[in-house]
Assembly symmetry: D5
Homo-oligomer: 148 residues x 10
């Protein structure tokens, strides 16, 4: 069972069960964004978590094995420039604020990057009378360039 | 004076003055990320802010006029897939977590998108003995798809 | 059932029934362009509308469930530059009038964009002895750029 | 003087004069969208109109000659997929509603296309307490495919 | 039955029957280039013609229905730059003579285009002792740009 | 003097003189399409023709020398997919009729191609009460594939 | 049977039989490079040759029919820039020596091209104590550009 | 002086002198294709050869120094798919015969490639009453894949 | 059995057996990187090695035959710019250090390249209290450019 | 002074001085690959090193300032797929061995990547009677994917 088939099975089971990502995350004992990214085949989910998820969603051990596998990442989107409007907005932020981000981060930290590996992400709903807001928080370890 | 020339002049003046983006933001009365994005030519900076910035950095009124202009955005990066490692990491996050973000946001809010226009962004340094962390917070208004 | 299979089933049923988009829109209680876009898998159609559509076209509840799903959008065209002559003409309008549109809109409204989310579109046939005309009207909420 | 230089001169003169596209359109005796598209070098402006425009903006006869020239079109945007958020939204509409437009138009008119040559476009501001709306109206002659 | 399947069936039947495009065109009562383009799924063939073609080639009514459908065009080639040498030569003509064609046509007709919709094409064999020549004649209605 | 500079000088001189391509072709003793293609830098114009052209347009011997040079072809368009509407229509014909052309030509001639080197092209205006027509005739030597 | 299926069948039969391209070429009475190119579906192989090949490799008449078909060429590689190291080296030669080839050929022959249609190619092994050498010889008819 | 400026100077001097590549090759004591490739900036020409060339063409020592420099190769063509017809024919050969070449070479030599570094190329004119032929001979060392 | 099917079978068998690449390399008598590259279908594995591998993993002779075949290389990745973060880092190194590598190698060796054919690669784990390090060593024969 | 101008000045000064990268590295007190990468504008060189380099090569303080600047990386190559043969070989290694590297590294280290930031590289010449070898050693910190 490859990651794509696994993803289809999990999403179908999730729909049948009616569970939200938050509920599944609690069952698994991890963060909902990370759990969802594992289910989309973009992160490997280690054994104990994978077992709990498969129990919660009544999935076979084949699905569990596929969850544990190390994925070839970046396959789920499958496009250089995304066409889906929600996903595109994040690409637009990159196009518009890319150099700004680089400069502000490097001014605060020195020459280096924000890791996308030692990395966590959170999504919150912030209620607002003028329209609720999506708040996305990314946290990545700063990695300084090495002199050698 | 076009946005590219304006950007070069401001960055040179900023370097000469030794001021940080935080200091300039305080002088202008706005957020450092927004101020930097205006200086990179990716946002329009309205008159009173632009005047304060030009006073702080001893820049001509030509620069101020260029700051006020509405920009054609997305020109500063100039590449479909960014090559700079810091900027690329945000593209990688998009490739790896794009569908996850879409699903988690839409589960919490319904069918719609996070606006990249009614949008703010913040960058903080979080000290950590295992290595300081870059914390980027994005906040965008949720826009539901319209039925008609 | 994914959106592509759903789309094929609906279009086949529509052909068998002989109903026009206008007739289906009336049956559903919504606009024909929006109804068609849901049937092409590019918009989510909420329950009551989806049920009415499936009743009108004698489709299964699987089709109805697929209609309700939130789509990954921008998949139906599947090309960066469209080759179909009718669709290409809209791309040509973008190439030829893109900056004009930007400037005229921003002169009237200030710095910002026309939303493609809080958005409706209408297509009318305007009879004309020199040749009938296609009249496409797009209406999108103006979103001003945010200062922060 | 090529179209790019012409465009820069006209836009600078327009800014100095403080005239809007609507005011210039009135001076010239044509529609503001068409006038703006000529000034961006994407349409040819015949003599009497070009003379009036150059008089209104105090521009040289070199600019007038350049306005009259037949342009190589589609050069002003210069990108396959536009990065500017306002312009991109129209590309997004094409990606999301392309096949819908094709089907609704062809159902009403038969097999054929909407001309982008025998074509006019209008932009209006529609005031709305929930947020003003941009209304773009495109009108193109229907051209049926020829059997031979 | 989609256009691709239809195309495969017609080409196989044509091969079995041994009929040339010219013979089929006579049976159908239309031009061989247009008939062939319908069979390649790039033009819609109205009922009476489609019936005659299917009778001539002993094809089912499913094929006839597929012939009548309005196609999404530009799918048969499937490449931005064609690799087949015969097809590429026409792309080369475009690369080498594109601006020449534009200038010569616009000098004779004024600012506008040659329609590819109100369009016919003919292919003749011209015998020549130095080597036979392919003569391709394209005829398209001139469409002048509209001032508004 | 390179081909691009040569082209600019010739086109400016042609405009000053008011001569049409047809008039220049007569002065040179060759076909207007070929003459125009040489002036756009896409064909080499041998000495006697080049001298006549430069005399007719009062151009320097530097221009004449540049006309005689063998060009690196396909540079004048400079885009994989042309954006200019007139030029694009020929690309559209290629996308829509490419395989049709291949099949009709090969049915008449056998396996081979139409040469784009031993090639001539003509453009005529055909008056028509329903709208004048552009008639483009291409004639290329048939080259059969070689067996060896 | 399409060219791709044909190719797979022939290559499997060739492997079973243990025959080399040279041996098959002798059986067919043609050059090994041309025979191989037909078997890869990139050239049409006329009847008598195709029959001999199918007899030699014990293949069905369906394969023979597919060999006779005129192919849509340039499909076997399927990439703009080849990734296979052996094939890439020929692309590298083109990148590095393209303009050199053009200039040296045109200095010897005048303005024109080397035909890739009236064309033969040969591959020899030249033994050499410092390492055997691959010797590829291409021979194409020179085609001069036509003046008209 | 970079390679591009060097190339322009050498080609201009060669034109003034009227010398052919063959004559220059004799003056330098090397093969005309290699000499031309050095002059196009795609190969480095060691000192004694470069001095002879500059003496023959009366060029400065700056040109000589530029000839000796190691080039960044593949810059002279500047396109992924060449548009010039002569250069394109070699790309077409690659598209049509790429896999054939791979198979025939590997059948004769085993698994490996033909070097494009330990490589020579020759161009000859072969007179032929049916039309002269261009004969291009490439010779590259065979490099077997290494097992380790 | 093609290389892709072969690869899937070997990776499944490897997983079932629990053997590491190092263990398989020992069983086969070759280096683990080379063994893995053969199993990914990117190198041909000669008979004796292939037999040993298939014995160790209890695979059929069909798999063995597929291992021996000469592959069309560069198919396993299937992307111009890799999206997987681990693979991308090597692409980033190429983007950031490409010209540096070229200059440092050519300064030490003269004008030429490092072979990717007569090439070996090794991966080691170097334990380090600040975080273990991946050490990749590439060794390729230097090939000097040939003068001719 | 931007990084590109800086790079040109340093490379010219290095050539005049006759110093090798190894000699400059010794003068600076760092590794030659890192020093070269700074001079190509792909790494920032901190003050004390930059001063020593500028003293060694007699360069102005403007060059020194440019060396200290944090670069936008990945600009020096400027191509998605490099054309220079030496640089291309590293791209080929990535295409051929990409998945192999991923699997071998992850088998030894677990799910994660090799850092290209906390990274060093070394180039050595290994003499060999069968032809000297280029030995490139890359060392990057292993970064495990984070669970959260």
């Amino acid at each position: 069972m490859n990651k794509q088939e696994m993803s289809a099975e999990i999403l179908a089971a999730k729909k049948r069960s009616g569970a939200s990502w938050a509920a599944l995350a609690e069952a698994v004992g991890a963060h909902e964004v990370w759990v969802a990214s594992c289910c989309y085949g973009e992160n490997s989910m280690p054994e104990p978590y994978a077992s709990k998820l498969c129990t919660a969603l009544k999935l076979t051990s084949e699905v569990k094995d596929a969850l544990v596998e190390y994925p070839v990442k970046g396959q789920s989107l499958g496009q250089l420039v995304p066409t889906d409007p929600l996903v595109y907005r994040f690409y637009e932020i990159l196009q518009v604020y890319g150099l700004t981000l680089k400069d502000v981060i490097q001014e605060k930290f020195g020459d280096g990057i924000m890791s996308a590996i030692d990395f966590t992400m959170d999504v919150q709903k912030q209620e607002d009378p003028k329209g609720d807001r999506v708040v996305v928080t990314m946290s990545g370890k700063f990695l300084p360039y090495k002199k050698w």
